[in-house]
């Protein structure tokens, strides 16, 4: 009887461990492709689409080196998104995680798979991520990440051709709190519409990044 119970508990432990460490094979294949990118430099154009911000398109250079956060160099003032510049998903998959298949479908002849990534470690700074994978082209198409500190944000990636692993356009959509400005900072002719202000406190904002002229770092 004792032997049976021991066998039962061992079996349960083994199966639950196996389930926890299960990572989608297609995601692993894409991650392998992304891991092969060591460094690059790319020119970029940045547009801010937030209803209370008016900013002209900015240009700069983005420098990526594996193991370090992406750096942006520009002569202008630029609002650089905190999220969405993790091109190789290095930060997202820094700590152990499991994946759960949500759905698969065909879109424009490509096999698409939607999976959830759930971290196993308390150190991870996201609670759940929904990844839309293009299985046919072996790349990530869209991610929806819920973080513990910075709210949730969506990333939409557009690629230049069927084989590219690095995108030519990234749209990062996020929730942004409408700025609250002390009245003393408002101009003399500025009218405050309190009704509108209350209903307008949380807004969806977006950053559109155009990436062109990828090159290896010298």
């Amino acid at each position: 009887m004792r032997l049976c119970l021991t066998f039962f508990f061992l079996s349960v432990s083994f199966f639950s461990l196996a389930q926890q460490t299960a990572i989608d094979q297609d995601l692993l294949l894409i991650k392998e492709r992304l891991d092969s990118i060591v460094d690059f430099t790319v020119d970029m154009g940045l547009e801010v689409d937030v209803n209370f911000i008016s900013m002209p398109k900015k240009t700069g250079t983005l420098i990526y080196r594996k193991g370090a956060p992406a750096k942006i160099s520009t002569d202008d003032f630029m609002l650089v998104p905190k999220r969405g510049l993790d091109f190789t998903l290095e930060q997202l998959f820094e700590y152990p995680f499991i994946t759960v298949l949500r759905k698969t479908y065909i879109k424009e002849g490509d096999s698409i798979k939607v999976i959830n990534a759930i971290p196993n470690s308390d150190k991870a700074d996201f609670s759940i991520a929904e990844l839309t994978l293009n299985i046919s082209k072996r790349r990530i198409q869209q991610t929806k990440i819920s973080t513990l500190r910075d709210g949730s944000y969506d990333i939409f990636l557009k690629y230049p051709d069927d084989t590219a692993i690095l995108p030519e356009q990234i749209k990062i959509q996020f929730e942004v709190e409408r700025i609250r400005i002390p009245l003393s900072f408002l101009g003399q002719d500025v009218k405050v519409n309190h009704k509108l202000k209350r209903s307008d406190d949380i807004k969806k904002g977006a950053i559109l990044l155009d990436l062109y002229n990828y090159r290896k770092q010298p």
Binding site: D76, F77, L79, D150, I179, R180, Q188, D189
Partner: protein, 276 residues
């Protein structure tokens, strides 16, 4: 007429109060520059604090364009005051020193005589605005450097260096029209009141009341656009993302109309009244 203008210009340049006024303008600029130096980062931090949740900031916004914008904001109250004191002095000092009677004994047309004072007042106002433009941009760029301008008008508006520079130039040009209006008004007040102190007091009251009325919403777009005290802010329109050119044109035309009207009133009173 040219001779009269030259003579009035000479008188203006000989007055010590003219140089006190110039020094005053520069002093106010220095004070704004110093406060901006110490508070600039704090102001920007407050403006952008909530964006820090989603963004990193690359580059700085405390630069010459922001400082010039802050100077513009604070100057449109102080500058009319300085201008009104100096320009009204062109006539009140003549009443005080009784030189006006001597001049009027000469074969000089009363209208041309006062018109030359109005012209000199206008030229002086434009010169002061130009001085403010050159010194504020010069000091600000020299100390704080160039860069993007951020302005809070119905949201956060960012402008590139070249765009900000052009908008600042246009704002100064629009502001010059308002300054000319105040200068002309001060001379008309001098025609009516004659006395130096009385004219200064009324000039100060005029500016204070105008500033209070400017903040009042009259509930009608027409009234809000027609009153002279609402016209003093037209320079701000150049800092909206889409510049409302029609509104600026309307407001500037109205300012010119009011200025002409006030000058004509002064000329009429001066012509019809006897010199004591």
């Amino acid at each position: 007429m040219i001779g009269l203008v030259k003579m009035e210009s000479f008188r203006l340049l000989r007055q010590s109060r003219t140089y006190y006024a110039l020094a005053g303008v520069v002093l106010i600029e220095v004070v704004v520059l110093l406060s901006a130096y110490y508070q600039g980062n704090e102001i920007i931090e407050i403006l952008l604090s909530q964006l820090r949740e989603s963004f990193y900031f690359e580059g700085t916004l405390v630069n010459g364009n922001l400082i010039t914008y802050l100077i513009l904001n604070s100057m449109w109250f102080h500058l009319p005051l300085i201008l009104m004191i100096v320009v009204s002095g062109l006539l009140t000092s003549e009443y005080k020193d009784r030189t006006l009677i001597t001049v009027m004994m000469q074969p000089v047309s009363k209208v041309r005589y006062l018109l030359s004072k109005y012209l000199v007042g206008i030229l002086f106002s434009v010169a002061i605005v130009l001085l403010l433009l050159v010194t504020s941009l010069g000091f600000s760029y020299l100390i704080f450097g160039k860069g993007d301008l951020v302005v809070l008008l119905n949201g956060l508006n960012f402008y590139t260096q070249s765009d900000a520079f052009l908008r600042i130039l246009l704002a100064f040009a629009a502001g010059a029209f308002s300054m000319v209006f105040y200068a002309v008004t001060s001379l008309t007040l001098a025609v009516i009141l004659k006395d130096v102190t009385k004219t200064w007091i009324v000039c100060v009251l005029f500016i204070v009341i105008s500033n209070v009325l400017m903040k009042i919403d009259f509930g009608s777009e027409l009234l809000n656009n027609l009153f002279y005290f609402k016209l003093n802010q037209s320079w701000q329109f150049f800092f909206y993302p889409d510049i409302p050119w029609y509104q600026i044109l309307m407001k500037t035309s109205l300012t010119i109309f009011y200025t002409t009207l006030v000058a004509l009133l002064g000329l009429f009173i001066f012509k019809t009244k006897d010199i004591d």
